[in-house]
Symmetry: C2
Subunit: 369 residues, 2 copies
């Protein structure tokens, strides 16, 4: 029996092979006599799990030796405070607003520093275009520049990250990449800090990944809680407080799954990216070709991960969602702040899932269009 296709924006579908392995190992991990949830985080068994997860992630994303990988808690919303607590030194920080998530980050930062709005796409109220880096108003003395590289709710993605140096800024770039991390490579020459909640492409909610350039450690404000001080976390190899051990284990299984993933002659992250491109092309193509379904985001800013779309008549939404469920297509409701529908196409969504969605879109249009 095939599992239904789950288009949740997060927490989101995980690879079936990962779930099967986790179920198999639930009571006894590798003959240790313990399930992973039951292991001391300081024991050799869990230490080996955490080290493998970190080194697999480093390999997959080609994280350079200059950057530390931290496993934290509190989600990206927690990081909205934790980033300025660690990096702002109470000074100026530049924020680029491109949707709900970056706007939240910008607002929270004001508790700790002087956030400047370097750019926003809010003019039309719908966040449909990305503000071109050439138009940003960057501060001379910013402690960092912050952007959200994929806006989950509005469905915008920065397909190329800005080269801050070329724009005349010496500030490090900080990105919230929660909802597209590991869907594509990262250009680390342009990124000083990348953070994200795990619950889209990595694993269970409750794990937060932070990848931070080592020279930025040790700048935390005195009011930064020890548990959220990047330097303290780094010095303790993410074990200053008990880490979310089971979530790290599942993330490690996902990393292994990505390493073994194959698509169109590619393997690993390259294969994942190729499939993500193919899935997005298929779905946006079907929506565009329909002449009936509505999308709002400018084509160059469309997210590969999160595809918000609308029916010509919102009163059809309930029928759309009920029929989708019957067809084995789950969690397609749009975010309440935007309405409409949304399909999230994270790594664990196979091409066949998008093909099934497209078939349903066409069928629904035939019956109601």
């Amino acid at each position: 029996m095939t599992r239904p296709y789950n288009f949740s924006a997060g927490p989101a579908a995980l690879p079936e092979a990962v779930l099967r392995q986790a179920a198999d190992e639930m009571l006894d991990w590798h003959g240790s006599g313990m399930g992973v949830m039951e292991m001391s985080h300081r024991g050799r068994e869990f230490m080996s799990i955490a080290q493998a997860a970190e080194s697999d992630l480093r390999e997959l994303l080609a994280v350079p030796a200059s950057h530390r990988i931290l496993f934290m808690q509190g989600g990206a919303i927690g990081q909205n405070a934790i980033v300025p607590l660690n990096l702002s030194q109470g000074g100026v920080a530049d924020y680029v607003v491109s949707g709900s998530w970056s706007k939240k980050s910008y607002k929270e930062a004001a508790r700790y520093c002087r956030p400047q709005l370097a750019a926003t796409n809010e003019e039309d109220g719908q966040h449909t275009r990305l503000p071109a880096p050439q138009t940003w108003r960057l501060s001379d003395d910013a402690a960092y520049v912050h952007l959200c590289s994929n806006e989950t709710i509005h469905g915008l993605e920065w397909h190329e990250l800005p080269d801050l140096q070329a724009l005349g800024s010496r500030a490090p770039l900080v990105i919230d990449c929660s909802s597209h991390i590991l869907s594509r490579p990262v250009d680390w020459s342009r990124v000083a800090v990348a953070y994200g909640g795990a619950q889209k492409n990595i694993g269970p909610a409750g794990l937060t990944l932070v990848i931070v350039r080592e020279d930025l450690l040790g700048r935390a404000l005195p009011i930064c809680p020890s548990a959220f001080d990047y330097q303290v976390v780094a010095e303790h190899d993410s074990m200053y407080n008990t880490p979310p051990t089971y979530a790290i284990y599942i993330a490690g299984l996902v990393f292994q799954w990505i390493k073994g993933f194959a698509f169109e002659g590619r393997t690993g992250l390259a294969a994942i990216e190729a499939q993500n491109i193919a899935k997005a092309r298929l779905l946006y193509g079907a929506l565009d070709d329909s002449g009936w379904y509505v999308t709002r985001v400018a084509s160059e800013a469309r997210s590969r991960m999160n595809v918000p779309f609308f029916l010509p008549d919102a009163r059809l939404e309930e029928a759309f969602l009920a029929g989708a469920r019957e067809a084995g297509l789950l969690q397609l409701k749009g975010h309440k702040s935007v309405g409409g529908l949304r399909a999230s196409l994270y790594n664990a969504m196979p091409l066949a899932g998008v093909q099934a969605l497209v078939a349903y879109l066409q069928d629904f249009q035939r019956r109601h269009g």
Copy 2:
């Protein structure tokens, strides 16, 4: 086949029935077509899981309507900052130090308020007695009084919580009960705030439980991160940021398991407590009767949950641990700051596990004593 007995101090053993159910439901929770890790936290499936967990916990611990239950992240070490951020208003707070954990709390608080050392048992350097409440130096204007009701590392437990009013203080009592929560009832007439990491008696690491009296909400300092502001978390029913959904699900299964637990004619939390008393009596009795194994904690302060003990000759520890592993008795090594050995007897440890440990203790003494 019996599973080995796992005496880890945390993350710790979980009931086998809970792990089996979690494994069974890993790919499909109740016919939803999704595993619990894959569900939107805002969907009806997960909402029902979270609500059941909260109401079962309220029932088990008899949490009164005056107190809110919050599911948070960051562990008790996170709460060391989050408590003063929420409750101190930058003023005075009284701290009782009875071991490593309460000492950490006291130190961290100085970032946010003026913590006063109301009492300490550090004189002998080993934290072996509890400072009697009658001797505490309580401040007139304390925003709260903080204590750790069970010290995991040193193995001390407050078997009766202080009545602050009777001691002449009007301050609310805040307890870190990470390592004995749900092992016994709580006297809520004396407790304003109780918090704890889940990884001992509740479920996976990464979930933090906070039970807070409602009149204490809304006092957070402006520098309190939104994600950790009790009022914000309460207003959003613990869904301001994405909660650690899978950990909440496992906690819910543990709550169900406790509700159905039976021991010596009792059920539920009363049965759990009765078994915990029986286990502790058995193990301490065997250690005392041995005339060979050494314990340091004063008998009236001994923790039911964490039993540190020592061999007369530390050079025997390696042989003790190796033999224990062979006998199916895992994770008995003491905390590195104290040394020696430690058996943690959380709720999921059956009486038979302690019987097996006692048999091993006697056998090891026969061979090496």
